[in-house]
């Protein structure tokens, strides 16, 4: 059976993370930003799985489960916030929500 070097898994995770990051930074639409955050979370989870596979331990997967839980909670609260923002500001533009500027 051929083996996969750990770094390839990690490079994949890094790439996905970077793509998600680019998107978060570029997008002004809040929903897109949320989607991008999901990509990044997923990438982080991937890194945990790779690490877990390297040591043959279950801990990496446990962490992934925690991440998923967190992502779910985050998405639900995030979407609720998006709804509120849309209702208040009539737009999905994140830059419009700048009332707290110094």
């Amino acid at each position: 059976m051929e083996t996969i070097a750990v770094e390839y898994g990690l490079v994949l995770a890094g790439t996905l993370f970077a793509l998600g990051l680019i998107s978060v930074l570029v997008r002004r639409n809040v929903i897109f930003m949320l989607i991008s955050v999901e990509i990044m979370l997923n990438a982080a989870g991937l890194a945990f799985i790779v690490a877990g596979a390297r040591w043959g331990q279950a801990d990496g997967q446990v962490m992934f489960i925690f991440i998923v839980t967190m992502a779910a909670a985050e998405v639900s609260v995030g979407l609720a916030l998006i709804l509120q923002i849309y209702h208040q500001l009539k737009t999905l533009d994140s830059d419009a929500a700048d009332k707290m500027k110094g």
Binding site: L21, V24, L25, R28, M33, S94, D95, A97, D98, K99, M100, K101, G102
Partner: protein
């Protein structure tokens, strides 16, 4: 009787206290009785004590009222020391003080601050008595500052006039400059002797210091600083003419008879130190000589009757300093006493004139008062004669002649001192009789408003008698040879050593002095009676000099430029405290940074994420660089 000594300062103090507490609610009559009565009683006790002191041949009497404060090796008592020197001062203060109080009852009769006036005056007498009775320098300093306070209050007595207040302030501050020197002198004395008891210092000083010792000289100079301030000598003399803003009795009591001679008292009291510091003593003489000349010149040019007398006072105290400077201790004290009599007399008489002419101060607006106010005229003439040292009949002649003689014939005297004193004597008689002729002769220019009552005349007459007869207690060898005064002071003050071979010239000096005094009178007579035009000619031909002298040699301007203005300028320019600018700057800086960084808080979410990313990049990069 002598154990009643503590009553002498206490009585005026109680008087002052009562008058202050009772305030203006007290009827004038009672205020007058309290004011004069307390001093009168003190004078009476002084006389009794003096009698006992003389008859029992006591050398000194010591009385501790209470221990004032004691810390470590410093122990200061509220305690009195009576010896011949303080007795003379005591006598002058209480007796002349009493006469002036009596006079004031008439003089201040219509003033609304009647009670306040007597309260201050009583307080002054109390402080002055403490000054001369103090057995230690701290108590002396208390009296010293106390008289300063009263002088301040009394110069500014008519506080409605703003300039009176400023004159008072000037007097207080200028004397305080001298006091600072005195205080530093006390610190040094304590540093050396670990005591501030005067007698102890005087006994210990010769054991610790050899003549000419540096410390002794320095201390002597510092004490001289104090004396110069209080006695209005060069360079701190310019407050006294302005101090004439006070009521005339105040000028008579404080600025002629007593307070201004405190410097003389101090130096006489601390004579032991000056004997060990010949340089300082020489400077006492030099200051006296210069002061008597410049003040005399200024007196020549004044028009204000009281200012003439003020400059004359400065000049006469200059004589006393000169006497002290040449070691003629008892001559200085003798002149002090006689001066107190005739100068108080002159001030009171002048006060009466001014009062009678509705506060007219300019003597060229007076004239012809000889007939209108005979009592004042005759008493003033007596005083003036005494001041000008008219030979034989006046007391001033005997006291001043002694100084003149010792300036020449004393071991420490020299030609310069003698010439200065002689010139001063000439100037004195010129300006004195200028005053007499201008004020009392010629035609009447201002109508006499009110005439003095008996209450004001009696003190004048008593003082006039004293300024004539006072000289009889000390007559020179050539004329009767009475030495009551120097005998009395003998145990306290060392006697003056004569220069070898000079004894024979005493009569010559006396003749010269008499001639000079009389020629001064003659000159005044020519200039102001016979040919008044000449006086005006001289005045206009030497206009610049006249102005300089009139302005008291412009010392005021000098101090204004050198000290007062820079101080006020410095103070004004920094009114808002430059140090506070520093803290304000700190606050402004903090606020600026706060605002600047607040601007990074754009409210744009993506910027924050960008920030986080940049931070992550940076941290990773750092970890790569530091730990590759």
């Amino acid at each position: 009787m002598i154990h009643l000594l503590w009553l002498i300062p206490t009585l005026p103090f109680l008087g002052a206290l009562t008058l202050v507490l009772a305030g203006s609610s007290l009827p004038r009559r009672i205020a007058a009785i309290i004011g004069c009565g307390s001093i009168g009683l003190a004078a009476l006790i002084t006389l009794l004590i003096g009698y006992e002191f003389l008859t029992t041949h006591t050398r000194a009497y010591h009385d501790v009222a209470w221990s004032w404060f004691a810390v470590a090796d410093l122990s200061v008592g509220f305690s009195f020391h009576l010896d011949a020197l303080s007795l003379v001062f005591l006598f002058v203060i209480t007796f002349v003080g009493f006469l002036i109080h009596l006079y004031s009852v008439g003089f201040m009769h219509d003033d609304e601050g009647f009670t306040r006036f007597f309260a201050y005056l009583n307080l002054f007498v109390c402080a002055m008595l403490l000054l001369v009775l103090a057995d230690n320098l701290v108590l002396l300093y208390l009296g010293w500052e106390g008289v300063g306070l009263c002088s301040y209050l009394l110069i500014g007595f008519w506080y409605d006039e703003e300039k009176n207040g400023y004159a008072a302030r000037k007097a207080f501050i200028m004397t305080r400059v001298g006091d600072t020197a005195l205080a530093i002198g006390l610190f040094m004395l304590f540093g050396v002797f670990h005591t501030l008891d005067i007698q102890e210092i005087l006994t210990k000083a010769p054991q610790l210091w050899s003549p000419g010792s540096q410390t002794a000289t320095l201390i002597a100079f510092l004490l001289l600083g104090g004396a110069v301030g209080k006695s209005a000598q060069l360079p701190l003399q310019s407050w006294l003419p302005d101090a004439m803003a006070g009521p005339s009795p105040v000028s008579a009591l404080i600025h002629a008879a007593t307070m201004v001679t405190a410097g003389v008292y101090l130096i006489a009291r601390m004579h032991g130190i000056y004997e060990l510091a010949p340089l300082a003593q020489l400077w006492v003489g030099i200051i006296g000589a210069i002061t008597l000349l410049i003040a005399g010149c200024s007196a020549l040019t004044q028009n204000d009757l009281k200012r003439v007398l003020a400059y004359s006072t400065i000049s006469q105290i200059g004589y006393m300093f000169l006497a002290l400077g040449i070691g003629a201790w008892s001559a200085a004290v003798f002149h002090f006493m006689i001066h107190a009599f005739f100068k108080a007399l002159l001030f009171l008489a002048a006060g009466t004139v001014i009062w009678a002419l509705h506060h007219e101060h300019d003597m060229f607006n007076m004239g012809g008062l000889r007939k209108r106010m005979p009592v004042v005229y005759w008493t003033f003439l007596t005083g003036a004669g005494s001041l000008a040292a008219i030979p034989l009949v006046t007391a001033g002649f005997y006291s001043k002649d002694q100084i003149l003689w010792l300036a020449w014939g004393g071991a420490q005297g020299n030609l310069w001192f003698f010439v200065a004193a002689l010139t001063g004597a000439f100037i004195t008689s010129v300006y004195t009789f200028r005053m007499v002729f201008v004020t009392f002769f010629g035609e009447e220019k201002t109508h006499v408003g009110h005439h003095p009552g008996r209450l004001m005349n009696v003190p004048l007459i008593v003082l006039a008698v004293l300024s004539l007869a006072g000289g009889l207690i000390e007559l020179p060898h050539t004329l009767g040879h009475v030495t009551l005064m120097s005998d009395l002071l003998g145990p306290v003050l060392p006697s003056t050593v004569l220069r070898a071979g000079a004894e024979s010239s005493e009569i010559v000096i006396q003749l010269i002095a008499a001639t000079v005094a009389l020629s001064g009178v003659l000159l005044a007579y020519i200039l102001y009676i016979v040919k008044p035009a000449v006086a005006d000619d001289i005045k206009s031909s030497c206009y610049e000099v006249h102005r300089l002298w009139y302005a008291g040699w412009r010392f005021d301007d000098l101090y204004n430029v050198l000290i007062v203005r820079p101080f006020v300028w410095l103070s004004q320019i920094n009114k808002h405290d430059v140090i506070d600018r520093f803290y304000a700057g700190l606050v402004a800086g903090t606020e600026y940074f706060g605002r600047t960084f607040a601007r990074t808080q754009t409210g744009v979410l993506r910027w924050y994420i960008m920030g986080i990313t940049a931070g992550a990049v940076l941290i990773l990069a750092l970890s790569l660089v530091i730990n590759p």
